[in-house]
């Protein structure tokens, strides 16, 4: 057999020919493609979008004044003319209050997670990438916070700082830093072990460049997915704090607070009393299912 030294270029030509000339698909394109085939995630996303949009656009939706009380129309059932979803114990329009309540409730769910993501994520990525003593220091401090159940921690922090939306936000942020930090640390540690990070270091690039180009892109996905799942917890916790009187103060519309003030009405009109709870349930369920779907779609190896 006389194959005369197949030159490199010839090999390449054959390799090209053998590989189907499929158009290269970017990472996000394949994520989108997988998401499109997951109806649960899409439906959850649409519901969340509706809730968020209606909350944001509440003043322009032609709703009743959510603060206007009426002694005549107290506790009207769902479906009453003028009160599509009934009215609460002070005669305020439930539909308007539920939609306006979404503003505070969502803000209370999203804001602490975003803040915690910034702080906890930075700490976790630092700990994971640097390892050693830095890792030890950061993670042991987080362990101290872990010693308290998150609900208890949130209650005691808001209790100590006093009621009010801003204190609730602060308390919830503190509660969510440790879990986000821990997740960030573990995914970063995992990515740091990959050869491509070593290769980047070996190319003489600075630490910040290596983190920016090679680590962030690979850890942000999983961290964001985890944070999305925390939003549902935050929504419930915020509602819980308001329910206990440690969060938002009346007469602000907020789902947890509404649930609390309507609880006496449960014998009069259970459906009406449950409405804020339904909103909390649907929102947190959607956040949870969506984060699950996102995780599946963003898994590179799948």
């Amino acid at each position: 057999m006389a194959i005369q030294s197949p030159s490199i270029d010839m090999n390449a030509g054959a390799a090209v020919a053998a590989t189907p000339a499929s158009a290269s698909r970017g990472y996000w394109q394949s994520v989108r493609r997988r998401l499109r085939r997951d109806p649960v995630t899409v439906v959850c996303g649409v519901i969340l979008l509706l809730i968020v949009l209606s909350a944001l656009l509440a003043p322009w939706l032609g709703l009743a004044d959510p603060y206007k009380t009426s002694m005549i129309y107290r506790l009207k059932p769902v479906g009453t003319p003028r009160f599509l979803l009934g009215s609460d114990e002070l005669g305020r329009d439930m539909l308007a209050r539920l939609i306006y309540g979404g503003r505070l409730s969502l803000a209370m769910g999203v804001t602490p997670v975003v803040c915690a993501l910034l702080i906890g994520g930075t700490l976790g990525i630092t700990a994971g990438f640097l390892g050693g003593r830095v890792n030890m220091l950061i993670m042991r401090i987080m362990d101290v916070f872990y010693a308290f159940p998150s609900v208890l921690l949130a209650i005691s922090l808001s209790g100590a700082m006093g009621a009010g939306a801003s204190n609730t936000l602060l308390a919830l942020t503190l509660v969510f830093i440790p879990p986000i930090c821990r997740v960030s640390e573990s995914v970063t540690t995992q990515v740091r072990g990959f050869d491509f990070v070593d290769a980047a270091k070996a190319s003489g690039a600075g630490t910040l460049t290596v983190v920016r180009v090679h680590v962030l892109g690979n850890v942000l996905g999983p961290i964001l997915v985890y944070a999305t799942s925390l939003i549902s917890v935050a929504t419930i916790l915020a509602a819980g704090l308001s329910f206990l009187g440690l969060g938002v103060k009346p007469p602000e519309p907020e789902w947890g607070l509404m649930l609390s003030t309507l609880r006496q009405a449960i014998y009069v009109d259970p459906l009406l009393a449950a409405l804020p709870g339904v909103m909390i349930f649907v929102t947190s369920l959607c956040f949870n299912l969506m984060s699950d779907g996102l995780r599946a779609a963003m898994d590179v190896k799948a």
Binding site: S5, P6, I8, D9, N11, A12, G13, A15, V16, T19, A21, S22, S24, R25, G26, Y27, M136, G193, F194, D195, F196, D198, A199, A200, K201, A202, S203, G204, A205, G206, T209, V213, H214, G217, N218, V300, K301
Partner: protein
């Protein structure tokens, strides 16, 4: 900022052909194993112990050994991905990371590494062209120039740039990924390329393509290779000199003809005769040595090979054999040291 890198030839030769390109002296690395309370290390893995080696300009030094022998640690020590506990590295006359020497960053521009191909060797979120352009950009080359160089390198490693540049690693086959890994290592125009099991994960027919390419690139770009592999046949094919390691130590080092033609150390002989025969009429009838390599956490005293060596005697347990000249090669075995006290050694 960085002028040398823009010249086509990379860093020029400094010390002349006789000066070793890389000289590592007395390298030692022990990894503590965290255990006990508070993560205090109670045991250490003696990955590399007092290892001295030099790589001449333009040669290929092969490094062979089994798992746990420290060959990959040597690679990472040389490129400073891990810091040695002891020892120094001198690159073409310039000590690395010392007052009058060159910086680690400078070392990494002249010495690059190709990792074993796996899904971990390329960043899944970067396109091929971005991966290759990363190092030149980090060294200050403008983005457009880095991209241009990246495409040139793709062509050089046999991947048509127009087809492959914008692809992601998961869209490539193992052989293509390894070509990208090699292109990435060449992006800074290094003088020494460390190939750590660079063809081990590839299928044989693809391995041959990559080996041919490595040979071509070496002469075309005037490279020096440190080729690390567990595959003795591939090391023999590519290397000018070969270094055999066992449990963090060099047991034998010398010209490839000497090591393969006239192995002196019992371990080298065992390793060579453990290769599967390619001839069905001459199958291996007896395993050259029994047992597995011991754990590097607690290596045997004296000669580390003595627990598996058929010629071990008392002296082997007591004294560590020095790496001594034995004709064409250097061997660390008491049988080759006159007056060592081993019954097979020559009298002093």
């Amino acid at each position: 900022m960085d002028t040398i890198i823009r010249k086509p030839g990379g860093t020029p030769d400094r010390g002349g052909p006789a000066q070793p390109l890389l000289l590592a002296t007395g390298l030692r690395k022990h990894f503590p194993i965290p255990g006990g309370i508070l993560g205090r290390a109670t045991k250490v893995v003696r990955a590399v112990d007092d290892l001295t080696l030099s790589v001449a300009k333009g040669e290929t030094l092969g490094v062979v050994g089994e798992s746990g022998c420290g060959k990959s640690t040597v690679a990472r020590l040389l490129i400073r991905l891990i810091k040695p506990d002891l020892g120094s590295v001198v690159l073409d006359g310039d000590p690395v990371d010392e007052p009058h020497g060159i910086t680690v960053n400078e070392l990494r521009r002249q010495v690059q590494m190709v990792f074993q191909d796996s899904y971990a060797s390329l960043n899944p979120r970067l396109t091929i062209v971005e991966t290759i352009a990363f190092a030149p950009k980090a060294h200050g080359l403008p983005a457009a120039d880095a991209k241009e160089r990246s495409r040139d390198l793709l062509a050089k490693v046999g991947l048509e740039p127009n087809t492959f540049a914008e692809r992601y690693p998961h869209e490539l086959s193992g052989g293509q990924r390894q070509r990208v890994n090699i292109a990435r290592a060449l992006a800074l125009r290094p003088r020494l390329v460390i190939l750590d099991e660079a063809v081990s994960a590839l299928d044989k027919s693809v391995e041959a393509q990559v080996l041919n390419m490595l040979v071509d690139l070496k002469s075309e770009l005037d490279l020096t290779y440190l080729f690390i592999s567990h595959d003795l046949n591939v090391v023999q094919y590519l290397s000018d000199r070969v270094m055999v390691m066992y449990l963090g130590k060099i047991v034998e080092i010398g010209k490839v003809e000497a090591i393969y033609g006239n192995p002196q150390h019992p371990y080298t002989r065992a390793l060579l005769s453990a290769r599967p025969s390619m001839d069905p009429r001459k199958r291996t009838q007896e395993a050259p040595i029994q047992g597995d390599p011991p754990n590097p956490i607690d290596p045997p005293s004296g000669c580390r090979f003595r627990t598996r060596c058929p010629f071990a005697e008392d002296v082997c347990a007591q004294i560590e054999p020095p790496l001594a000249d034995a004709g064409e090669q250097a061997v660390a075995c008491h049988m080759r040291v006159a007056g060592s006290g081993h019954s097979k050694a020559a009298r002093a």
